[in-house]
Symmetry: C2
Subunit: 208 residues, 2 copies
């Protein structure tokens, strides 16, 4: 059998991949053959800090899993302000969701916040895997459901909480993420200015 991309197992050991395998296994128990084909569809890529994986105008051809490092997806509005859509550190998935799913030009950037290592699968390969295996179809269905549920919770947070509550909630839910992020990035995720986040963190917003 001919392969064009290096098989991921040829270039790295099982132990490096174990977070990925664990991530998948928590969703569905795959037959060895399916796990093998899944792994074979991914390639591993090293990414330098500040490097872009996705840019507006280009179709997001890949779905990305973070093995090591940190990423941020964001977009720039008409007034030039940037808005973070998502973060991803180890064991998170990231892409421009609308661009990847519908294979339309992206509106978001995905950029490395640190030197990172990712595994990525391209859209075509993912389609083939889903079409050829019920188990892998189930895997991706569960990933989509998780994404939708996560987004729905974020909408709820944004609707019901003020700036300070959103900050507190985020730090409570993702302490490890919050630590590693530049504050301008966190502020733009929480839909507030860096100045206001700074004031919240230092209790400079007095309640009366």
């Amino acid at each position: 059998m001919l392969v064009f991309l290096p098989r991921i197992l040829d270039i790295c050991g099982m132990e490096e991949l174990s977070p990925f395998i664990e991530n998948v296994s928590q969703k569905i128990k795959l037959d060895p053959e399916n796990l093998d084909r899944l792994l074979a569809a991914f390639s591993m890529v090293k990414v330098k800090k500040k490097q872009f994986l996705i840019q507006p105008g280009f179709v997001a051809k890949q779905r990305i899993y973070v093995l090591k490092g940190a990423f941020r997806s964001y977009l720039i509005d008409d007034k030039g302000n940037d808005h973070t859509i998502q973060f991803a550190i180890e064991d998170w998935w990231i892409s421009d969701y609308n661009s990847y799913i519908y294979q339309k030009p992206a509106t978001q950037f995905v950029v490395a916040l640190e030197d990172s290592v990712v595994m990525q699968i391209d859209y075509r390969s993912e389609q083939e895997l889903k079409a050829s295996s019920h188990q892998l179809e189930t895997l991706f269905r569960m990933m989509a459901e998780k994404s939708a549920a996560f987004y729905a919770r974020r909408i709820t947070s944004n609707l019901t909480q003020n700036a300070e509550q959103r900050y507190t909630e985020f730090v409570g839910k993702f302490p490890d993420v919050a630590q590693r992020l530049p504050q301008y990035a966190l502020a733009s995720y929480l839909n507030m200015t860096r100045e206001f986040l700074s004031k919240i963190r230092h209790d400079k917003v007095k309640k009366r």
Copy 2:
């Protein structure tokens, strides 16, 4: 073969179901057998205006497709304000996403805004369909992806647009929905007060 629920085809004609079949067919072409099993898993329910299909504290056991009428899902925050999560008119799906997917107690209400007719499937039946048919698994995977993509776009809107822009966008995208809704519901979806929406609609918020 024993059936406990009346087969949906026994109580209504194909032409009544055609919007539903059309909705499904746009996602995936099902074999007749799978379409048949899918239809058999749904039951049809008439719902009076103001009747609740889902309430906080109870697990959302059903995924709901609107054949006729209009619905709203919303939640009440600590201050007693209500926030609309989603609307659904003919040919839309609705539930409390997190509650249905994870079978945890709901946080949202789903209420009929008009006398309505819906088709609903319960969680268990959906699981069985997905497990037993690759095609039906694909169908539900695509529905989850659509939901996630839709939610992601809403997050983007909320991050990048002010109240007036959000209103204009909504009316542009969903003119038929906007017409039928009480304004308090639309305001709470757009994350503003009814008073402010009223001012926007009447240009009472003057630009200088």
